[in-house]
Symmetry: D2
Subunit: 341 residues, 4 copies
């Protein structure tokens, strides 16, 4: 049984494990004040191309989302999110648990645009309603689509004009930035969004997300919020060492490119076999629509999620590739798909 269920099925890239072993008996300061973390932060600042940003290393996506959002907002302020947004559906109400409403936007491709935002602002008129204040987007989105530079520039402009905070969930940011359809650089994000994070967990780390705060007014006292929510690891070096390895020699992007390449293989062959997709997703998640009969056969040797049932005979499934996906597994999957088709 080979799994295409997600991109956190294996452990970590060997470079990371080696670095953990090499550094293991060095004594380091706790809570992220160690030298590894400092170096990782410096390296990330270089890659983003700005020195006047704050970077914090956290353990996971939900944790990063809830701490950033609750630190950035006052109690009456709300979040705007696509209705497929991870924070809206798959984080057990973690943002609401910190006191903030999420305003849900109906969309078809996982993406928000500036017109969505304007419509929300127009609908929220007075103190009997929450005050929309933070725009949450993820790149790639929950369904694997990615933002183009122009789209992000429009959203960014709309946010600036309306005094909104623009926050990008980058749990799979590597895959988006390395997509063949991508038009954004890491350095663009430093200019266009107020805060974003670079996901490590889904791209080769044991755990770890690097939160980048670009907007000055959002930086103050951020470590208090991390500690209060249980996110300051005593052995913060664990995160520092990992990001140091991921961004030394741009391993992070190599890993993402591999994931995308494996997804590309699947995408091409599934297309050639005559199947369509639920959505055009140029990143490491694919949503092909397959006959249920074929799905049943494939499930004998492969693990993946049924995403949605489309009619009595067809379903969309989700296939996810990662830095660790083996090309032979992909090829074998393709063979089986062809064989049973």
């Amino acid at each position: 049984m080979y799994s295409f269920k997600n991109d956190y099925t294996e452990g970590a890239h060997p470079n990371i494990l080696n670095a953990l072993i090499e550094s293991n008996f060095e004594q380091a300061e706790g809570y992220g004040e160690d030298g590894y973390t400092q170096k990782a932060v410096e390296l990330l600042k270089q890659r983003i191309g700005r020195n006047d940003i704050d970077i914090h290393l956290l353990s996971g996506g939900t944790q990063t989302n809830l701490i950033a959002i609750s630190a950035f907002l006052r109690p009456h302020e709300a979040v705007i999110s696509a209705n497929t947004g991870h924070i809206l559906v798959h984080e057990t109400g973690s943002v609401e648990a910190t006191g903030h409403k999420i305003i849900s936007i109906e969309e078809s491709d996982g993406k928000l645009n500036y017109l969505h935002i304007k419509a929300v602002l127009e609908a929220h008129t007075d103190e009997h309603m929450v005050k929309p204040k933070l725009v949450y987007i993820s790149n790639p989105t929950e369904i694997g689509t990615i933002y183009q530079r122009e789209e992000l520039e429009q959203i960014s402009r709309c946010c600036k004009e309306n005094n909104l905070i623009l926050f990008m969930d980058g749990a799979r940011l590597g895959s988006a930035l390395c997509s063949e359809e991508n038009s954004l650089e890491l350095s663009d994000l430093g200019k266009l969004v107020d805060a974003f994070y670079i996901g490590g967990t889904k791209n080769g780390a044991l755990l770890g997300e690097a939160l980048v705060i670009c907007c000055d007014s959002l930086k103050t006292d951020f470590r208090f919020h991390m500690k209060q929510k249980g996110a300051l690891l005593a052995k913060g070096r664990l995160l520092g060492i990992q990001f140091l390895e991921l961004f030394r020699d741009d391993l992070y992007f190599d890993l993402a490119r591999h994931a995308n390449k494996m997804a590309g293989l699947l995408r091409d062959e599934i297309s050639k076999a005559g199947f369509r997709f639920l959505v055009n997703s140029p990143s490491n998640q694919l949503f092909p629509i397959l006959p249920n009969r074929l799905i049943t056969e494939l499930q004998k040797n492969y693990a993946f999620y049924i995403w949605s049932e489309l009619d009595s005979d067809h379903s969309a499934v989700r296939l996810v590739t990662s830095w660790a996906t083996k090309e032979e597994a992909v090829l074998a999957f393709i063979e089986e798909m062809k064989m049973y088709n």
Copy 2:
């Protein structure tokens, strides 16, 4: 410079790193539903001697405290804690941030007793005050003292009689249970407290605390709370593998014994040199009272915290040993202490 600042200065025990490497490319389920975590949980149940308990693996002490306490309490219910309690002072108001007041008890040795609890209950009479509901203790306490079986039995009985939840913070539980003065077994905890955790971060793990929920009514839906607070790691195997290593062959206790032995060496020699201690702490934290002049000399080669200034010439310092503390470093420290005394 050698550090006695804390017990999370080094990485992890080599067995753990080896296990991570060996398992690295196996595909495992996410979010703690992997086989390693299941095995670790089974092993812990054996060691505790009960099958009817729930065990969850989390990343750190503050995280575990805040999730357990907020999951266990209704909004108007409050916590009783010693005024030195970690949750009261050193967790950035994380419990209050989930909505719960902590009632602080003045004490001299870090420990609560059943009379403290009774006094709180008598002082809280109606709905204009919070309702005391959970008793928070830690073993060892914040200042290294430990609970004796009889003391814990009295507290446990008092809690049962008054329908209170008894919760034990075990961030350094290994050191307490392996102390020469200890009279408690892991299996006693399973009977006497409603929930407790077995700290891994401070006893050989990269990160990890095993929360044990003994009381049936506290078990329901606990994973929802973990997810909501950002504590379900995508690669939950990271925690499972570590606890499996720590409790396979009782490595956990060997590590704690080493830490205690190193503390014992320091304790004996500091005593022999004629110095007193702020408190009698039979675990891996010591609080000797030293002349400031001597402290200044020692600080040239050793890192440790000044705990409190006692008079213009003397201060109490905190020395912490761990599974990784090297005996030669301890001996060298003792030599320097004698030399400058």
Copy 3:
């Protein structure tokens, strides 16, 4: 200028003011433990036909909703509400501010049905999502529609079968129960819902909502929650005296019938004049669709809200009547409407 903007434009029914004057210099216990409140509670229990219920008097609808819902739910549990629900849109995220997500249901007539609830339950499968636990309905709904007995019985059955709490917002309950289309009694509510409230503010009181808790497990410690959220009035008599007056001789229903009668007058004449309504609302709120030209004329002498713009020439407006609405004002409004039509 005469206002049809809402049903809280005037003060209180004169009986209430007289009762305040008569009782003014009697000394009474504070915080709702006075004799008036006790008598009001007894009287309400009689009207509802159950003695085994708890009744608490609060100041307003948002306050009652947020305290009841936050007292009833654990942190990971969520509310199901129609997408027009008052708590979802018009209470500044007050429920989310207590930590709970509201799951929004798309509907067309303001009402939830049991199929909506089942669909939510099916979509919420594990701990990565909130746990739906409380169904929020209001009667009449936000757009003036009312629940029929059979509809409520279906919802009630669905909630019981799925261990959900059924909560009814009754800010305008009088108008619903006195509607010509109504098939529910106050005593039915005591059997079919777990908690509901009887709105006083919008039916003749200065302020005041009577929360009725029918389900035993929801009763515990409720006054703690009221105090914690700032809802225990020092002079609780103010609420007791008002509900005593409202339910002595069933004044409450007389007042609601008057509001409905005034709405009926408007409804009939607007229909006769050839205008349609956004929704068939048999209570004290009407949503006629009028030409913008006519609206502009009417606004010269009458205050009311524009509810929604339907096309470039037509809008739906909201007309609200109350216990204090004067028949001559209604007739004059009708005259003007006819004149400018």
Copy 4:
């Protein structure tokens, strides 16, 4: 039985009830946007002597405290309060329920001073602890003592120098400002504190506290917080009318002076009878130490609280007078006290 239990035992000053009757059938805007509230706010600004302040009318002390404090603070910021502070003990953890820790200061006379504040600041050093940000004082204090101008100036200066918010609970502010020992004016408060409130409930209103926000940065969006916490009354006129009456012709101060005069009568005669007081309280609360035997006799005809037991034969009791306290009741109480002494 005559009650000296508190100052909210009777209804409202007759002027208020008359004003409610006179205005009853006028139609007014809802939620505090009515003309009465606007006039009351203007009048209060005049009395305070500043136009650049925001004033909001709320229903009670706990509500005002919790909304102001939670609106003013970010999640990691904490409150400093005397250990007798009302928010710390008697409000069911309402501040903690909004997420904020209260740091308790041991004192003997109910008052904070600037040295207390400095000590707290020195003890809170990093992000592992909460960040002290708001100083909560009440005038008079929980035990009836009052702040002198110089004391308040010192605290105010300390807060400004350390970027702290100074908030004064004025639930009984009238009694403090009208005390014979008082050296503060309402206009001083407008200069020395960042926000305070003028309590109506305990000085002649049915309910109502006027929150005054002096500091610009605390004003933004305050009504959102009021709505979110259920504090915007639909019939906001109820509060506006009352404060208009209380401050028209300075009735508020006349009422407070009466309460103080009645307390003065009691104080003098209790002193003359040879009894001491727990604390020197120059406002409308007295804490005489009486023989238990005498207390038992007095309790036959008078209601009051036992405050604390001092030895087996003596207790301190609390006697509270108000705007409505009858002189003949005070004299009769004094007679009985003398008779049984």
